[in-house]
């Protein structure tokens, strides 16, 4: 239960970065060893607190990218924002062995539980794919057979997080469909010119509203507004559309 998972006092814990890998030239996954991590649901986030030598602090929230197998590390994927103060530190400065403070997991609304049976439609814009990837991974971890569809809108093939893993899972995870939408540059063998996500795409590669899918939409504000409006226009029940908008950090 989400309430049980979040209703105790959240304490700051010292996490150790045990590994890091680049997902794209500007997005990096940090693998965190967090002592006594209570576990998390797919879609939840954690808060990070950084402290400078003079005591200055900054906090930000990051979606958790990994599913929770019961123990082991927790992964976040950070997109570098050029004018950010925290994300460039996490992408370019932090190295394995470094420690950062975290607390969580946070959030009980934008979550997918592997006990749910409804079809799921995931609409991702840019780095908004991170919590949706956690859902795909959680389904796989549980051996789930729920019908899952991801539509992932991203500028260019170089900007796509987890591209290889998504293609592999699209082939191997039974019942998972993955559709990329390239908004600025498509791969050479792509049959269409680049375009933004549109009603036709959501209609073709999503689920019909009468399947009553649970919809999760995550990305920058303009993407989320547009995509959620399309779902409503196509007849999806607004109460089954969960959104999370990413701000700058």
């Amino acid at each position: 239960m989400a309430r049980a998972a979040v209703s105790r006092r959240l304490t700051w814990r010292v996490a150790t970065v045990v590994a890091a890998r680049w997902e794209t030239p500007s997005a990096r996954t940090l693998v965190l060893d967090i002592p006594e991590w209570p576990g998390h649901l797919a879609g939840q986030h954690l808060d990070i607190r950084l402290t400078a030598e003079d005591g200055y602090q900054a906090q930000r929230s990051y979606s958790i990218a990994s599913a929770w197998p019961g123990d082991g590390p927790v992964e976040i994927s950070v997109q570098r924002l050029e004018d950010g103060e925290v994300s460039p530190y996490l992408t370019d400065v932090v190295e394995p062995g470094d420690q950062i403070e975290v607390r969580g997991p946070v959030g009980g609304w934008f979550v997918w539980r592997d006990t749910a049976t409804a079809p799921v439609l995931l609409l991702a814009g840019g780095s908004g794919v991170v919590p949706l990837m956690a859902m795909i991974r959680a389904r796989s971890l549980a051996g789930g057979r729920q019908p899952f569809r991801l539509i992932y809108s991203v500028r260019t093939p170089e900007d796509a997080l987890y591209a290889e893993e998504l293609r592999r899972r699209g082939r191997e995870d039974s019942g998972l469909d993955v559709r990329f939408v390239w908004t600025r540059k498509a791969p050479d063998d792509w049959p269409h010119p680049p375009k933004r996500i549109d009603v036709a795409t959501v209609n073709t590669y999503g689920w019909p509203p009468d399947f009553q899918p649970d919809c999760f939409v995550c990305g920058p504000t303009t993407f989320v507004e547009t995509a959620a409006d399309m779902l409503v226009a196509l007849g999806h029940d607004p109460k089954r559309i969960r959104t999370e908008r990413f701000g700058g950090a």
């Binding site: 209703s7 200055y56 504000t221 959620a228 779902l231 109460k239 908008r245």
Partner: protein, 199 residues
């Protein structure tokens, strides 16, 4: 006791002394909501206060915007860490609405078009501390930011400032609303950093 983050702090944001702990200054106006943005035609808009005795007080858009309104300039603080200083709104003080309402209840559940709810003690809505705002920066409030009208309680984290607000239900006992049910703090004072349950 915090640990020092090696090499952190070179690109810090301006952090004026009037920011609550853990917040940073945003220069845009981020949008956060849990679902699609409802769009409510003004001729269908209503605001209703239901007291603990079941008595109802309802205003339509015309009646509501005919009430005395105030221009307010306030700082706002979102639990997702951004703050915005000196935002300018126009709206009706909650005091004005309660001039004609009889209630002995201490708590209010604000509810919204689209189903959102959030709980607030009544004393945090009165004495010039809260408004129903329908203009931002001199323009009608955009649906993304909660228009036609939103609750504005600047001294609490901004999730308490319910977007698309359509009424209050008076309660004798405090009850959690939408985010409070999902692990967020029942009260939400940014200066005491009450983000989550138990903070």
């Amino acid at each position: 006791m915090s640990i020092i983050s090696r090499g952190f702090g070179g690109r810090r944001r301006e952090s004026p002394p009037d920011l609550p702990p853990g917040q940073y200054l945003a220069h845009d106006f981020p949008v956060l909501s849990a679902g699609p943005t409802p769009r409510i035609p003004l001729d269908r808009w209503h605001f209703t206060i239901v007291t603990e005795t079941g008595e109802k007080h309802t205003w339509d858009w015309k009646q509501f915007t005919a009430l005395p309104a105030e221009e307010i300039t306030v700082d706002i603080h979102c639990v997702t860490k951004w703050s915005k200083l000196g935002t300018t709104w126009k709206g009706v003080a909650i005091d004005t609405l309660f001039e004609e309402v009889e209630s002995a209840a201490d708590y209010v559940m604000a509810h919204s078009y689209g189903g959102y709810t959030t709980n607030v003690p009544l004393e945090d809505l009165l004495d010039g501390k809260a408004w129903i705002a329908y203009e931002y920066d001199g323009e009608p409030l955009h649906p993304e930011h909660g228009g036609p009208a939103r609750l504005l309680i600047p001294h609490l984290y901004f999730w308490k400032s319910a977007k698309w607000v359509d009424g209050f239900r008076m309660m004798h006992e405090d009850e959690p609303g939408f985010w409070e049910d999902a692990g967020y703090h029942m009260y939400g004072d940014p200066w005491r950093e009450q983000r989550y349950h138990g903070d």
